[in-house]
Every structure is written in C-alpha cells, then in structure tokens.
C-alpha cells in the first residue's frame, strides 16, 4: 500500500493568533499562524489545518488573509474550517489558497448544504467535521456517540456513526473526527469511535482529539483505521516536531512520506 498516512498539524486560530485549549476551553497563545505554518512545512507536514474557533464575521476576514499569506510560501494542502455557512464562504477560501473546507454546524443545520457544496466544488474539497462525545451505552451494551455543533457547545441528539454514513452519502470527500472527551487531554484518540466509523465508511478519515505522545498517532492509524492524524498542542509547544513524529511512525512500519 504505497499511499502514505498523513500527519496534519492543526492551528486553532482566534483573532489572528494560534491558540490551544483543553476540552474546547482555556485558550493559550501559540504564535503567529503564518510563522507556525511555515515551520510545519519545513518539518515536512503532509497538510496543515486551520480552525477558526470564534467564527465571527470579523474573524472570517482575518482567516482569509492568513490563508492567503500562508499559501504564498507553503506548497502543501491547506484545510480551513470554522463558521462556514455559504457556498460564497467556500469559494472565497478556495480562491485565497485553501484546498479543503471543513464544515460542521452548517452541515447539521442543513445536510443538503454538503450535497450542494460537493456538487459545486467537487467532493475532494469538502470535509465534514464531526465533534463527537460518548453517551451511555445502548441496551445492547454497544458504545454510542452523539455529535455536537458550535465548537462543542450545542448537543444535537444525532448519533455520530449514522451521521458519518449520511455525510458520505451526501458527498463528503473526507471526515474529520474529533473526540470531545479526549480533546486536549493527551490520553490518546477515542479508538473505538474511530474504528466504528472507519469500518463503516469508504472515504478518508482524519483522527483528532487527545494526542499526547507519538504512540497515540500510531494507534490512531493502526487501531483506529485513520488515514490521517491531526494534532495541535504536541507540535505547538515544541514537545515534538512533525519530522520526529513522522520518523516514529515510519519506525513503527507505517507508510509515511519522509
């Protein structure tokens, strides 16, 4: 299998700065997005994700400028998410230099938006972001997860596995799956969540939420079935470089671009 698994550093952007919190709160500053992105590119990141965590209209303009600036010097795929509401939002970001757009809340409010967006721009650039939280096990003892919107603030009552399958049918080109239980905890991905989704869908899946050490990246790919792993804090604060993470994966027998 020559296709490499991907490592995607994620930049959570608030008012023009990279920040990172724990369980979606307690934000810490982690630098200038353009500088941080350029560093990840140097370290051989396979892709870079930007998440506009405030998603206000002011911040929309800010993130477009950030994408433009990054795209001038970084020649790897860029994924942008947060507050995407219209086809016009997608179009502007693609023109600024983004390659993929990740959509969460708007997809839940109007699933047909994903159909329209993928027909209009091609499914290769439409990523559906799923923020999932485990709920009590069903009567059969099987684990269940519910999806949340608005950056994890609003519960929906929608089952995460059903939702992932539905989004594939509606034309999503990729799924970005974040475990809210694990996000910022450094205890590893929710592997059951990942495995349950990746075994029932046929589009690429990115694992997110919970990476604290390099072994977690290996687990996300091997046990979780992820095609790509996303992490923020382990890279932002210099605990590990992306290059080091890639070497670790390669040593563990995972196909990787070195």
């Amino acid at each position: 299998m020559p296709l490499a698994k991907r490592i995607i550093p994620c930049l959570d952007v608030d008012r023009g700065r990279v920040v990172k919190g724990t369980c979606f709160v307690n934000l810490r500053d982690a630098g200038d997005p353009v500088e941080v992105a350029a560093r990840y590119d140097q370290e051989n990141a396979d892709e870079i994700a930007f998440l506009d965590i405030t998603a206000s209209s002011d911040n929309r303009e800010t993130i477009i400028h950030i994408v433009e600036d990054v795209a001038e010097q970084v020649f790897i795929p860029l994924t942008v998410g947060g507050g995407i509401r219209t086809l016009e939002d997608i179009s502007r970001l693609l023109h600024a230099g983004a390659d993929k757009i990740s959509i969460n809340t708007t997809a839940v409010n109007n699933p047909n938006f994903i159909r329209e967006a993928s027909q209009h721009f091609g499914n290769q650039c439409i990523v559906v972001a799923i923020d999932a939280k485990q709920v009590k096990s069903g009567s059969d003892g099987q684990k269940q997860w519910e999806i949340y919107t608005h950056g994890g603030r609003t519960s929906t009552g929608i089952d995460a596995i059903d939702w992932a399958k539905k989004m594939e049918q509606f034309g999503a080109g990729e799924l970005l799956i974040t475990s809210m239980d694990r996000d910022g905890t450094k205890t590893g991905f929710d592997l059951d969540l990942m495995k349950t989704i990746t075994s029932q869908t046929g589009i690429p899946a990115i694992a997110s939420g919970g990476v604290g050490k390099l072994q977690h990246l290996v687990e996300g790919i091997v046990a979780g079935g992820a095609d790509a792993v996303l992490a923020a804090s382990i890279f932002h604060y210099g605990e590990y470089t992306v290059a080091k993470a890639k070497q670790f994966l390669a040593k563990n027998g995972i196909e990787i671009r070195l």
């Binding site: 020559p2 296709l3 490499a4 698994k5 991907r6 590119d41 051989n44 396979d46 433009e68 795209a71 001038e72 010097q73 020649f75 790897i76 795929p77 693609l94 023109h95 600024a96 230099g97 983004a98 390659d99 027909q119 209009h120 721009f121 091609g122 499914n123 290769q124 650039c125 080109g173 990729e174 046929g202 589009i203 690429p204 095609d227 790509a228 671009r257």
Partner: protein, 219 residues
Amino acid sequence: MQSNSVVVVDLGTGNLRSVTKAINTVSPNSEVHVSAEPSVIANADRVILPGQGAIGTWLKQLGAGTQLREAVMNALDEKPVLGICLGLQALYRYSSENGGQNGFARICGTVKHFSEAETDYQSELYQKQKIPHMGWNRVIQTKKHPLWKGITDGERFYFVHSYYADSRDPSQIAGQTEYGITFTSAATQDNLFAVQFHPEKSQRAGLTLLQNFINWDGA
C-alpha cells in the same frame, strides 16, 4: 535566452492561486497570467491547464467552438503545456464522469472512476480502497523526461481524485502510481506533459517539477 511568460488557464475551478504562487516562487522572472482570454493564451510561451472538481463543469467553461477552446487547442498543438489533474484527464478521448464527456483525444485511453476498475477491485482478496484517492503517493517514472530532472524515481506527490487515467499507449506514459490498480499519474506526448497529482501542493518535489516545466522547450 528562454522567454518566460506563462498562462494559467482559468476555467473557474481549482486552486489557481497556489499554481500561480508556486510559479512565482520557482521562477521570479516569469510573467504569470491567470486568464481565460484567448489572446493571452495565444501570446504566452507556456500554458498550464489546471482543474479540480467535476470535468463536465470544467469542459463546459471551455465551451464548444469558442475562441477560448480554439486558443487552448492551438496551444496543445504548438507550445509546452502542463496539464494538472483535470488538465490531464481532459487530454484523453473520453471520461465516464458526469454521464460521459469527450476530451481532447491527445493521449490514448479513457478516464474511469476507481470503482469501475476491472481488476483488483473486483477481487474479494483485495482490500477496498477509499475514494477519493487522497494523499501523498509514489510516482514511478516509466520514461525519461526533462520534467523529471532532479526528482527521485518513486518520489511522493499529493493526489486528490476519484477518476483515474487508463492509458492505451505505453509510450505516452511518463509515470505510474499504484492505488489498488496501477494508473497513469503522468502522461506525455510531444509538447504536452500532464500529471494527475498537484505539483503546486507537493512541496519540494512539486516545485522542482514546475521549475522543470518553466525550463522546458517542449521537445
């Protein structure tokens, strides 16, 4: 003295800004235009034909019997052209996407969806591949070519596509990639060179290929 004006043909799809910025980076002295103006295409030394999304929409932008289409056809006849993604697929005779679309028939073969592959996919032994084919995959150079200069055989490039080129004439295959099946990831004929991957998103290797294109006289 190599003169260096490049036009990135704007058919309304894809990330044209990245292609332009990548050319600016490898060749600061090149004059780069992003345009769908027939005269701009006619006057350029080199033409890049990029495209992402649905090929039906892309071909529709080109129109039938328009001056734009004629300018692009003339470029295919006479100057160095680099096709990227849909710009590779459109060089084939036919693509099964969007209910079936006729291409420019410069490269022998057809374009099919990964799920239409006749061989490995049908075998129960073969693990089902995810579609789209997305990420960094190896390109095996099946032919020596100026555009491969300085690029290691088997180097990884960034791909994102659900349809693939099935070449009929091996002499036109410049590179191959494996994803369940082996498909044509780079094709060439005379002054044409086309790639399924995105050099503008393939970091150093991609920039090297774009630099080689700027230096290529099309022979």
